[in-house]
């Protein structure tokens, strides 16, 4: 029926054991009733998994890479330059990949109707942005360092400061939503979400590095956060025929 190579797609590699969180993680309470309970079914990759939505530059608007200015004024908080590279597991850059980012303000408050008023909203901070990687997989945006915030998971629970990152990458299989943390945060050892990743090395990869290279004198500290998307198998799926 077919002549071809197009059906023998090269799939994406499965994650190394321990490097991804489980669905149910008891100390993260809300995970328990929102997790698949039956074993997942291993799905060989096909065109459905190695393709995915492609976003053009028109998805990015002027100012999307600067979260420190909004609604005609400047946000409160310590300025930071976030930058890094998006690569695959083989170190190959992922060019023209869209990153959606969102975060709390300097006081740890999100611009969301459901967030608790433990700290005021900042009229000049919306808390979301969007950037695209360049041809070498590099991205960069300017924001303020988000504050930690209380949550209801357990008594005196606080989320460490974090920035949410959402990427599609080149395929449905490479979809990633993660959270980036800051070095030296004393809340990290107590955070069940951060600690849901079993492997210590993999977990620490979610912590950005302070970066002199991108620090701007008198203006902003630089932090570097590299993101690694799944790499592809060396050879195509074995044919069943």
């Amino acid at each position: 029926m077919s002549t071809g190579t197009i059906f023998d797609v090269r799939g994406y590699r499965r994650p190394e054991p321990g490097t991804q969180p489980p669905y149910a993680f008891p100390t993260y309470r809300s995970s328990l009733r929102r997790a698949p309970s039956k074993p997942l079914i291993l799905l060989p990759h096909s065109l459905s998994e190695v393709t995915g939505p492609v976003f053009g530059r028109d998805a990015i608007l002027a100012g999307d890479d600067d979260l420190t200015v909004a609604n005609g004024g400047e946000a409160i908080g310590s300025r930071i330059i976030m930058s890094g590279r998006v690569v695959d597991e083989d170190g190959r850059p992922v060019p023209h990949a869209m990153l959606e980012i969102w975060q709390a303000n300097a006081g740890g408050r999100y611009r969301h109707r459901m967030d608790q008023p433990h700290s005021p909203l900042d009229p000049h901070f919306n808390g979301y942005g969007r950037v695209m990687t360049d041809s070498e997989g590099r991205y960069r945006f300017k924001t303020i360092k988000p504050g930690p915030y209380p949550w209801e998971n357990h008594f005196n629970a606080w989320r460490p400061s974090h920035i949410h990152f959402s990427l599609f990458g080149p395929a449905f299989a490479t979809r990633l939503i993660t959270q980036m943390y800051f070095p030296g945060d004393p809340l990290l050892p107590f955070d069940p979400i951060y600690n849901s990743i079993p492997d210590e090395h993999a977990r620490k990869l979610l912590i950005a590095n302070f970066d002199w290279e991108t620090t701007i004198p008198d203006k902003a500290n630089g932090y570097r956060f590299d993101i690694v998307l799944r790499g592809r198998n060396e050879t195509p799926m074995e044919s069943k025929r």
Partner: protein, 189 residues
């Protein structure tokens, strides 16, 4: 060089602040015409309580069975303006609604043709990484020979197949259930 892929983390409760920029409840855009299908459903947790803060993303081929992506080199037509991506959130009752078209068949592993299907990612606070599933179509003979459906035990296969609510195939119902009776089949991608 072999790097470790970045770990997933949950979307958190406040991800809606980014979504105003990219909610896509209509995959086809204006002019879907008579081929348009509405898929509605709910996300329910393990107690079958509604999940009011969930998000569903969909990815599909066009009516010809062609993905709008460079990796799809099939000799089939692309359609101007058709991306194939949808993104909707649930309301207070855990309900969502998406308008799209039924995709054509695409090849699966080894060249076997797959039944028409929509690839789905489910996100919500509490879910440490996305849950991946598929929507198949009712009254579709190709379902019987679909390579992914064949991996699923008979008793659970129905969780992946939408129900025809309208009788004419234009209004379908498909739910995401995280545990208990009728738990949706999720795939390890």
């Amino acid at each position: 060089m072999k790097l470790i892929a970045t770990g997933n983390q949950p979307v958190g409760p406040f991800y809606h602040i980014i979504l105003d920029r990219m909610m896509i409840p209509d995959v086809v855009g204006p002019g879907a015409g008579p081929e348009g299908i509405t898929i509605r459903g709910r996300i329910l947790n393990a107690d079958h309580a509604p999940v009011p803060d969930g998000m569903i993303e969909t990815w599909q081929a066009n009516v010809h069975g062609k993905y709008a992506h460079p990796a799809d080199t099939q000799d089939k037509p692309l359609q101007e303006g058709f991306v194939g991506f949808g993104r909707v959130v649930t309301d207070g009752n855990g309900a969502f609604s998406l308008t799209t078209v039924k995709p054509g068949r695409v090849p699966g592993p080894g060249g076997e043709m797959q039944a028409p299907h929509i690839n789905v990612s489910v996100f919500m606070p509490g879910l440490l990484q996305r849950a991946v599933t598929r929507i198949y179509f009712p009254d579709e003979p190709a379902n019987a020979e679909d390579p992914a459906l064949r991996l699923v035990q008979d008793s659970r296969r129905a969780t992946l197949v939408a129900k025809d609510v309208s009788g004419g195939g234009t209004l379908l119902e498909w739910n995401v259930i995280l545990g208990g009776e009728g738990e949706t089949v999720f795939f390890d991608l």
